[in-house]
Point group: C2
Chain length 220, copies 2
C-alpha cells in the first residue's frame, strides 16, 4: 500500500453475484439462470455481472438486479465475498455476493421481459438434492439461505418478501417458511404488532372471515 505504482500488483476481475429471493406457492425460491456455455453448460447458476472500473459494488448490484432480473428499487444487501482461487476455472474472479428480496407480485410483473433464461428455483429442493450447481454457487446459496433465516429472527427483513400491504396470516406464512417451523398465531401477532399499523381495508371474497390488511410502520 506504500507504493504509488499500481502496476506491480496483481489485478483481478471482480463480479457481483445475485441471490434474488422470493416466496412463491408457499416456498422460498431463488432466481437462477441456465448456463448455455461451458464451463458448467446446462447447469443452473446465479445471475451476476462484472464490476466496472468506475462502478461501486452497490451500483454493480443494482445494475445486475435490473439487467438480469428486470427489477428496480428492491431491497438488497451485501452478503459476503468469495475468493477461492479455483472457483471459476477460466480465470481468477472474486465474487461479492448480494442478497435481494422481492415480493412475487413485483417479480411476475417483469417476468418474460428481460429475464430470458431466468427462472425461479425452489431453494429447499435445490439444497436438499445433490444436484450440481455452477461454480461455487451452491455454497453461496447455502450461506445466503442461512443468513436470511438468521436475520428474520432479529430484523424486519421478512417484510421485503410481501407487498406494501399484507395480511397477518400471509406474513406469518412467510416467517414460517423462512424459519422452517410453524408458529403460534397469537404469539406471532403479539411479536409483530408493534412493527405494523392497520389499514382500513381487508381481504374479501373468501368463504371465511376476511383478514385485515396491514402495512409496515415506518417510524422508530
Amino acid at each position: 500500500m506504500e507504493n504509488y505504482d499500481s502496476s506491480i500488483y496483481d489485478k483481478l476481475s471482480v463480479a457481483v453475484d445475485l441471490l434474488v429471493f422470493t416466496i412463491e406457492n408457499d416456498a422460498l425460491k431463488i432466481l437462477m439462470v441456465e448456463r448455455s456455455e461451458d464451463p458448467f453448460a446446462n447447469m443452473l447458476a446465479l445471475p451476476g455481472v462484472f464490476v466496472g472500473i468506475k462502478e461501486t459494488l452497490d451500483e454493480a448490484a443494482i445494475r445486475g438486479i435490473r439487467e438480469e432480473a428486470g427489477l428496480e428499487d428492491i431491497y438488497f444487501e451485501q452478503l459476503y465475498s468469495f475468493g477461492e482461487v479455483e472457483r471459476d476455472p477460466r480465470m481468477r474472479i472474486i465474487s461479492v455476493a448480494y442478497m435481494a428480496l422481492v415480493p412475487i407480485e413485483k417479480l411476475n410483473f417483469h417476468a418474460g421481459e428481460r429475464t430470458l433464461s431466468a427462472k425461479l428455483v425452489d431453494v429447499k429442493e435445490l439444497l436438499g438434492s445433490d444436484e450440481k450447481v455452477a461454480f461455487d454457487h451452491k455454497k453461496i446459496i447455502e450461506y445466503g439461505r442461512w443468513r436470511l433465516a438468521n436475520k428474520v429472527e432479529y430484523t424486519k427483513i421478512a417484510f421485503h418478501l410481501v407487498g406494501e400491504e399484507f395480511t397477518l396470516p400471509n406474513l406469518q406464512k412467510v416467517y414460517e417458511i423462512l424459519l422452517g417451523k410453524s408458529l403460534y398465531k397469537a404469539n406471532f401477532r403479539k411479536k409483530i404488532a408493534p412493527m405494523i399499523e392497520e389499514t382500513d381495508r381487508s381481504t374479501s371474497g373468501d368463504a371465511h372471515r376476511p383478514s385485515k390488511l396491514y402495512r409496515l410502520k415506518d417510524e422508530e
Copy 2:
C-alpha cells in the same frame, strides 16, 4: 459471465484491510500504522495487503496478519467489502475488510519485531474525535466496531480477546467494554456459566480474594 475472453472485462486491484482488535488498559484498541507517504501521509491507516493472483481472500488475510502484525493463529473473520470508486485516490481498489481479535498478551510478545510503525489506537477516542483517518478507514472501523458489539451479544466472540485461561471479573470487563455498559456480576456469571469450565488454578498475590481461572468449554 458467458464469455471466455476475460480480457474484455475490467480488472481491479483487491486488497484485504485488517481490523486487529485487542483490549489494553480497560479499553478497546485497534492496530494501525502511520503512513509515511502520500496520499494521507502522516495519517493513521489500517494495515492491509493486496490479494495475490493465486491467493484466496482468507489466505491474504492470514498473510496480512502475519506480515503486518507479526501474529499467527489468531481468530479472524471476513467483515465486509468496500468498493467506493474514489476510496483510494491513486487507483481503483476493492477492499475486503477482515476483523481479527487477539488477547493483548499475544500481541505484546511480538510487538517491536515486525510491526515497525504499528501501534494500538484507542477505538473510542478515535471514533469520538474528528481526527481524520486515511482512505475510508474510519468508516470501516466504525462498521467493525458495530459488528463486534453486536456479535458479543449472541456469540462467544469475546473469548478471543482473553487468553486461554481467564478470570470471570476479567471476562466481564471485556464484555462491559465491548457493550459500553456495566453488567451485574451475578447475572453475567449465570449467562457465562454454561460456556466455561473451571481450572484448578486461581490468581494470587492481590490484597483480596483470589479469582478462579476458567477456560472455554469446547464441546457443543
